[in-house]
Subunit: 150 residues, 2 copies
DNA sequence: CCGTATCCATTCCGATACTG
DNA sequence: CAGTATCGGAATGGATACGG
């Protein structure tokens, strides 16, 4: 059941991150969680995912500290799955994925959902890379410094 | 060979994005491409991925317009795989994944690779969500506005 | 060196049936 | 409603072997 490909001890944070949320369902579950989905059945209905797979993914996400199990707020005997601080820290990942999809995978005029800033009702501006002085930073202006070992 | 789960016509840009780069290897291939890896053998050696799977993933990424095939620069009869503009637009996704990994999946003092701004030699600052006025925006201050249909 | 093709094992996933 | 158990098919992955 452990899904680790052995990336979990990689010195590359991207690889470790993908080892936790890099499968086909986890990120969608997390997206729904940001959207306010909390119940097993609600995830299932939203994602049309097989129930055994959902069981497995929820378990993994709880084990990796992304989701937390809390008693259901309606007094039923079941659980609700809510984002931990670690899970909430994934928000920028979801937002950049959204931005990339919006900008690259929709035809002109094709409709899609939009992330709104509820303090002003406007769409949330794109996340862009800045350097230490707050200036725009192009990908070509960066490089990855590897750690000594490996 | 088509991997689409049928999310490719979703109105959610996150779902569409994950339909293209949401499997276990694609994002790692793209990470390597940002790192300057271009050759089949170099991807294979870096990722320790089976060659048939690598063939398949490279083909998918080319088909979806993330990578481009160009004749090898060394005059050999083969190809190099380079990021298209659409592929380069994934940089913020890689960066936020990296940030999340750095902040949440490493023990204190544990070493990891670092993204460096080569114009000043300093680590690239974290990408954070801002509103239209440039002020920090918490995840709770946002919501996803769905499109009418579905 | 770059891929493709094939074989086999493992994993993933969906459907369904079942339990509380 | 919330999960578990099981089964079969599909996808994935590793290890070759093969050809350009």
């Amino acid at each position: 059941m452990a899904r680790s490909k052995g990336l979990s001890d990689s010195t590359c944070p991207v690889a470790r991150a993908l080892d936790v949320v890099g499968d086909r369902w986890s990120m969608l579950i997390i997206r729904d969680a940001f959207d306010g989905v909390r119940r097993f059945g609600a995830f299932q209905e939203s994602l049309l995912i097989a129930r055994n797979i959902l069981t497995d993914r929820l378990k993994q996400l709880v084990e990796s500290g992304v989701l937390d199990c809390v008693p259901a707020s309606d007094g039923s005997a079941y659980w609700e799955y809510v984002l931990t601080p670690r899970g909430k820290a994934l928000f920028p990942v979801i937002v950049t994925l959204r931005q990339w999809g919006e900008g690259n995978l929709f035809e002109r005029g094709e409709k899609h959902s939009v992330l709104i800033d509820r303090t002003n009702g406007k769409p949330v501006p794109a996340l862009a890379l800045k350097n230490a002085d707050g200036k725009a930073l192009a990908m070509e202006e960066t490089f990855v410094k590897k750690v000594e070992g490996r």
